[in-house]
Symmetry: C2
Subunit: 191 residues, 2 copies
DNA sequence: TGCCAAACCTAGGAGCCCTAGGATAAAACC
DNA sequence: GGTTTTATCCTAGGGCTCCTAGGTTTGGCA
């Protein structure tokens, strides 16, 4: 009588990502997702253990998409070129997929993080961008943290309308890349 | 028979802030707050319109505390001294009051933001710190956005355990302040 | 002391998460 | 093609949350 929706863990996760992008990761809910499929809430539990599991799946999917975008952006580049390309890909991903970007901020089990190749790819790509500046440890690690903090903080503020001054946000972003590049080149290595 | 809890909007908001600090802003719930007072859920609705209203009240309270800390920290300082003091106060607040800090990230109605003196104090204080570096517009605004982004991103990452390398987080923070100071001093003002 | 405005209550509806166990469509096998 | 098996999807229901409506008690004040 009623045709089946043809659900599977992947399709559910994919739709969950779309829902998160449209309604926000916080509003990613089992009920809303079931409604989207025209299915009872309970039906989703055949494919997903519970809401937390669904959120983790979306986060891992987001990591894969983000890792793809970042690694593709910096391929064959170095120095400021790589930094600018990395930054552009980072911001573009956050703007194009606000829900997935929120998902990347989910606190994941350290074991999952260590085992997830996509998360590791993000690490190594970030590492490669900074490595071109030739900083010794611990400055290298500090520089990575600076970049992660600034990119994350900026996109976060932008996403929730934190910049209300008239200055164009994109131009601020470009100026900040310049400033970060300058900071990396002139990093003061303490003894 | 049963002694009254002596609730009032302020006491409710204060307790809500404590609960948010202990359990996280996301877990600030009407039920949990009522339990904390030993009172029925419905009783709180005499003092607070609804959950969203409670969250806004906590956010405004957080803005006041944060504004107090920031303005007190930079009083009488300028240049890098002011920057370092601002940064220390910012991070200390985020670490001491994780729930209130999360509350400051709540998306508020622009009218409320404009009308809230404490939020404006945070703006003017940040503005003053950057003003000492004498940057012309639009570099001044870009520099403010850099600082806000980096501080916000760093504390956010730290709060959810985003820095897992062995490098001490506090030392990274200090190095990043140095780097930001350098970036502000050497800001490249485009024509 | 008696009245009034709060403070606080019980009762109950709606939405969400999740479990248990049953029905049914699609695939696998004979 | 018919039968068995499997996985998909269902209904029923419990617990937690937010919130409303309307009643009861308390503490202060005339």
């Amino acid at each position: 009588m009623m045709a089946r929706a043809g659900l599977t863990a992947d399709r559910v996760t994919e739709a969950a990502g779309e829902l998160a992008d449209e309604a926000g990761f916080d509003n990613l809910t089992i009920s809303a997702l079931a409604r989207r499929f025209g299915v009872a809430d309970a039906s989703l539990y055949s494919h997903v253990r519970n809401l937390q599991d669904l959120r983790v799946r979306v986060a891992l999917r987001a990591a894969r998409i983000q890792a793809d975008a970042l690694t593709a952006a910096v391929a064959g580049k170095a120095g400021k070129d790589a930094l600018a390309a990395f930054a552009a890909a980072y911001r573009d991903f956050a703007l194009a997929h606000p829900g997935l970007y929120e998902a990347t901020q989910l606190r994941l089990d350290p074991e999952i993080v260590a085992a997830c190749a996509d998360v590791q790819r993000i690490f190594t790509t970030t590492n490669a961008v900074v490595a071109a500046y030739g900083l010794p440890e611990p400055a290298h690690t500090d520089a990575i943290r600076l970049l992660r903090s600034t990119f994350h903080g900026f996109t976060n503020l932008e996403a929730r309308g934190g910049f209300q001054a008239s200055r164009d946000v994109r131009q601020s972003w470009d100026a900040i890349i310049d400033a970060l590049d300058s900071a990396l080149r002139h990093w003061q290595v303490s003894p």
